[in-house]
Structure formats: structure tokens, C-alpha cells
């Protein structure tokens, strides 16, 4: 029997709390994770339960947060380091890409780096340009770090648990817009519910077009699919869940059935998730392709403050449905 619905924020909190109870080596560090109880309330109650040793407030020092996690992981701990938002993780890109992702390689397997970087991601709510990014593909560009981006509570729970238990570094992004969204959970007793790294999921079956998405894009794809169904078009929604490694077999098997594809993402369009999936599809599925691959992404512009034009820049379900109608 499935557990009752909980918000994605609570699913993540529960996964992290259970993993800390299970393994003494797991600890959290980041800005405002302890006394503030987490900027997004994911670490609510942690300080009281686990104490300052395992719930470590850091100064506003993203480069150090990124790198301290690498050193602690190499030495045998399992840090879960939080970037308050992914916008601030740009400051730690060297620690993530050049150190977390390469230490194992350039020492030819001498060390493991079992860490998780958590980062709240996404745009909207008039957060303004520098606080409005969904740049998961930038971090997925580099070999050595896995990237997980859940779209709902159950996935977030299972994916975070796997990320913490795996011996590789994982960047785990959490869409701010999805934090309050309720969703079903695994059985209450199943604290070992794990979703393998790189395993995608069909969120809705359909035969006319494949919608490939991750994180918040899955919501827009599912909304568009419901709207399209009323108009007689059955869309299949593939939630890749992980940007690295990519479960392209899942995309290919869906595409062989539908022969059409729209890629949906919250991120910017240039050098993007959509670019990558489209390139792989034309390279490997050319004989199955009945229409151009379409991409729905944010507009190629910094995000403004003012509400109306901010919404213009964002993708939504209508934009997805419109793109589908151009190719079916």
C-alpha cells in the first residue's frame, strides 16, 4: 500500500533524515541548514535531532562548501552539502567540475568521492535575473558527477537515498516550484526505496508523440498531455529524472513507437538539455523520425522582475501543447 501524499520538500527531508539515522558518516553542511532550519525547510528539526557536529552551518562561502565536501568525502565521510540555491553554486563550479568530478579520474581510481550537492533550482515568483536559473545542464556537462533532478515526491525520496548511498558524487537539484507539491510516497516501512542512478520513467503512456522532460518540465508535459488527449492526441511523457547518465534507451524505445518528439525544459535553450536529446535522436533514430524534433524551453533572455514579462519568458503547458500541434 502506498504511503500517504506528502509535499516534495517533506519527501526530501524524510529521505535525508532517514539516511542520517542509518549512517553515522552522513552529515549536512550549508548556509542556514542548522539554526535557521534550512532556507527551504528541508533540514527542519535536524539540529535538534543530530546536533551541530552533523548539521553544520557554514559561512557564505560556496567555493569552500563545494571543496570541503570533496575532501571530507575522500577521507571517508558522506557529506550532503547544500547550496541555498543553484545560482550560488556557480561560485562552486570549479569545486564541482574540477575537483568532485575529476579527483577519482586524475588519480586513476585511488579515491572515492561519495558526496551529494543539494541545490534548489528554478525560476519564477519575481526572484529576478541572478536568482532565476535552472542550469542543471551546465553541471551535467562534466563527466565524473551524476546529476539528478526529481519531478515529484516519490522520485525525490528514492533518488536522494540512492545519491547518498552511492559512492560517486551527485548533484541533486530540487525545483523550488515543486517543493510544496504533494505526491504519493512509498510504503511507510520502506526506508530502502531506491531509484537507480540514470533510470528514467514513463509518467504517461501514449502513441502519438513523445514528450521528454525532467523536473518541473514533467509537470508541464503532463498538463499538456491531458489537454492534448481531449483533442485526440495521445502523448507519452518520459521523465528522464537524471541528466547524467541519460536513459536514452527509454527515449529511443518511446520514439520508435511515436516517431515524434517534443523536449521540455525549464532551462535556457542554447547548448541545452533539448539540444542534447535532439542531437542524439537524429543521430540514432533518424530512420524513425517523421517530423522535426521540437524544443520548448525558457526564452533566451535574463529573467525580468515584472510579473507579466517574467511569465512570457517561462515555458508552460500551453507552449508544450502548441509545439506538439506543429508536428502531429
Amino acid at each position: 500500500m502506498a504511503g500517504r501524499n506528502v509535499a516534495m520538500r517533506e519527501a526530501i527531508r524524510r529521505a535525508l533524515q532517514e539516511e542520517m539515522r542509518r549512517d553515522e558518516n552522513v552529515f549536512v553542511m550549508g548556509e542556514e541548514v542548522a539554526y535557521w532550519q534550512g532556507t527551504h525547510r528541508v533540514t527542519r528539526g535536524f539540529l535538534e535531532e543530530f546536533g551541530e557536529r552533523r548539521v553544520r552551518d557554514t559561512p557564505i562561502s560556496e567555493m569552500a562548501i563545494g571543496g570541503v565536501a570533496v575532501g571530507a568525502a575522500m577521507a571517508g565521510l558522506r557529506p550532503v552539502a547544500e547550496f541555498m540555491t543553484i545560482n550560488f553554486a556557480f561560485l562552486a563550479l570549479d569545486a564541482i567540475a574540477n575537483h568532485a568530478g575529476k579527483v577519482r579520474y586524475f588519480f586513476d581510481g585511488m579515491f572515492k568521492v561519495p558526496l551529494v550537492y543539494r541545490a534548489a533550482s528554478g525560476w519564477g515568483n519575481q526572484a529576478t535575473a541572478s536568482h532565476s536559473h535552472s542550469p542543471e545542464p551546465i553541471f551535467a556537462h562534466f563527466p565524473g558527477v551524476y546529476v539528478g533532478c526529481p519531478s515529484n515526491s516519490m522520485d525525490a525520496y528514492g533518488m536522494l537515498k540512492t545519491s547518498i548511498r552511492d559512492d560517486n558524487p551527485v548533484l541533486f537539484t530540487e525545483s523550488i516550484a515543486l517543493y510544496p507539491k504533494p505526491g504519493p510516497m512509498p510504503d511507510d516501512e520502506d526506508t530502502d526505496y531506491l531509484i537507480p542512478i540514470g533510470k528514467g520513467d514513463i509518467k504517461r503512456e501514449g502513441s502519438d508523440v513523445t514528450l521528454v522532460a525532467y523536473a518541473r518540465g514533467v509537470d508541464w508535459a503532463l498538463q499538456a498531455a491531458r489537454q492534448l488527449a481531449r483533442e485526440g492526441v495521445e502523448a507519452e511523457v518520459v521523465d528522464l529524472r537524471w541528466l547524467r547518465p541519460l536513459d536514452m534507451d527509454l527515449v529511443y524505445s518511446s520514439f520508435k513507437k511515436t516517431n515524434r518528439c517534443v523536449i521540455v525544459e525549464e532551462s535556457l535553450p542554447m547548448y541545452s538539455f533539448g539540444s542534447e536529446i535532439a542531437a542524439l535522436l537524429q543521430e540514432h533514430m533518424f530512420d524513425y523520425m517523421d517530423a522535426p524534433i521540437k524544443r520548448v524551453a525558457a526564452e533566451d533572455v535574463p529573467l525580468p522582475y515584472s510579473k507579466e514579462i517574467e511569465l512570457l519568458a517561462l515555458p508552460d503547458a500551453q507552449k508544450v501543447a502548441d509545439a506538439v500541434k506543429e508536428i502531429v
Partner: protein, 343 residues
Amino acid sequence: MASPSKDMLLDWYRQMVLIREFEETCHRLYEEKRITGVYMHLYSGHEASGIGSMAALRPSDHVITAYRDHGIALILGMDPGAVMAEMMGKKTGSSGGKGGSMHLASAEHNFWGGYAIVGGHLPLAAGIALEARYRGSDDVTMTYVGDGATNNGYFHESLNMSSIWDLPVVWIIENNGYGMGTEVNRASGQIELHRKAEAYGIKSFGRVNAQDALEVYAVATQAVDYARKHGPAVVEHVTYRYRGHGVSDKQYDSREDMSAELREWMDCREPIKILRDQILKKHTGVKAVLAAHEEDAKRIVKGAVEFAEASELPTTYQELFQNTYVHSKMVHKTDMSVGAGID
């Protein structure tokens, strides 16, 4: 002041002449194109800095450094053959040919490696020290930092974090006068670099003439003891690099002021000569031992070069991809088409 035994001093001499022979051989092999990497930063001139400070450690302590890492590796006891093979990118290299000159490491010696992004290893050092604190161990992490790194964000963030968390780190600033080609006084508003650490509440043991291994050792023992008991310590080692920033540094050929400066350091502050004089002043009947160490250094490095040159290069895709990730049952599949890695 800590007084090292005769055996210790003789062993330092052994290490010092081995490093010098190794580094000068690397330089020659680079000039002869038998070592082909673009980057190679030699420890010639710095020897007393590493030897004197690491002599204050115990085996369970940790060491991490930047890219001028050959000397550190040899002091810790890494096999010169495996290190030389790494210079040549061979399978038998200490990093399997994946890392090269700047990425030597040895888990068995608690040597957490050499790192190539200036300052990039500083938070790693804090993380390694955090693991010790987390477990209640008093092992220290000795961290070598170049003067240039004191100007970037990693330095300030890492030192500050080591201070607020009382991490057992000894920050050794190896001030050799230049960050690549820029003099310290053109790069840093505070030219007494250890004072930057003091700004974060870190205990400073001041500046040390790091051409004198005895002086380095005396201060390092205090700094290590302090870090073990209390928290981070800093020492500034004033030293000089004999082979420039890296092997491609041609400044010393074109700038008379710099070549004069180099000659002055080599003539008046040569660490091998200083140590040799100190040993001979204090101990008799050791000349033969010193000579034997010099001969051994030549023999060992010659053997290392022969071993490295006889070793094979990695050549396959399997070798290219392996160790990108830990092989894990929790990973669903890898996708070769986008190079997601095999293991």
C-alpha cells in the same frame, strides 16, 4: 627548540639530494622531449621547506599540496620509478598516466595529492581535517599553499572555515616570491602573507627562512603541536624556485634582474649546502654517508628513468574511460554514446 638526531639529519640530506637529482633529471628529460607534458613545476630550491616541515608529522597525519608536488611525493616515500613513470604518462605511473606531473598522490602514505587549480585543494584540506575532527582524531592535515593562492577566494574561504570549525590544519604558505611571473608585492596588498591568515583568527608562527631545514623543522613542530591540540596554524616559508614557475618559464633567460636574483639565492641560500654545513659542524665521520646518499640519488633516479621508459603507455578506450566513476550497482546503465563512462 626541537633538535633532530644525527640519523634524522642524514635522512634529510638523503631526501634533499634525491629530490634535487630527480627534479634536475625531469628538467633535462623535458628539454630532451622525453617528458612531453606542458606543465611541470619543479621543487628544486624548495627542498628544505617540505623536508623540514614534514619531519614534524607522524605517519597518520595527512599531506596535500598544489602542482609543485614531486618533492612532496618523494619525501613521503613514494616510489621514484612510479613518479617518473607518471611524468611520462605510463601505465605504471602512480596515477596510471591519468594525472601527470601535477597529480601525484598516494593513499597509503596519506598523501591526498597534488592539485592544479590554484587554491583548489585548500577546501579539500579543510574537508580532510574535518573528517579527523568528526571522528575525534587529532591527526593534522599539512597543507602547502603557494604565495599566489593567498590572493584567491579559495584561500580566504577555506582558512576562515578552518578557523570557525577549529580544524587541525597546518597551512604552510610557500612564498617563493612569485605567483607565476608576478612578484608578491605586485599581487598582494599584504606582503607578509601569514598575516592574511591571522585576519581569520588563525594562530601564526610567522615567517621562516625555508632554505634552512632546521629552522623549518623547529617552527613546524610547534605549529603541528598547536594544530593537534587547538586548531589551524599558519607558517610562511620564504623560499625560492630554481627552475622558474614551470619548465616553460623563460623569464630567467630574458630578465637580468631575475637571473641575478636566482644566482644570489643559489650562491648564498642553497638548502643542500646549508644542511650539509650544519651536519658537518655538528657530527664527525659522516662525509662517507653524505657521499653515499649523493651516489644513491643518482642511481635511484637513473633506475627510475629506466623503469619509466621501459613501461607501456595506456592506449585503449577501456583505459581512457576507466575510473571516471566508481563502478556501482546503483547506477542503472551507462551510455557510451555520450561517453558517460565505463568501468
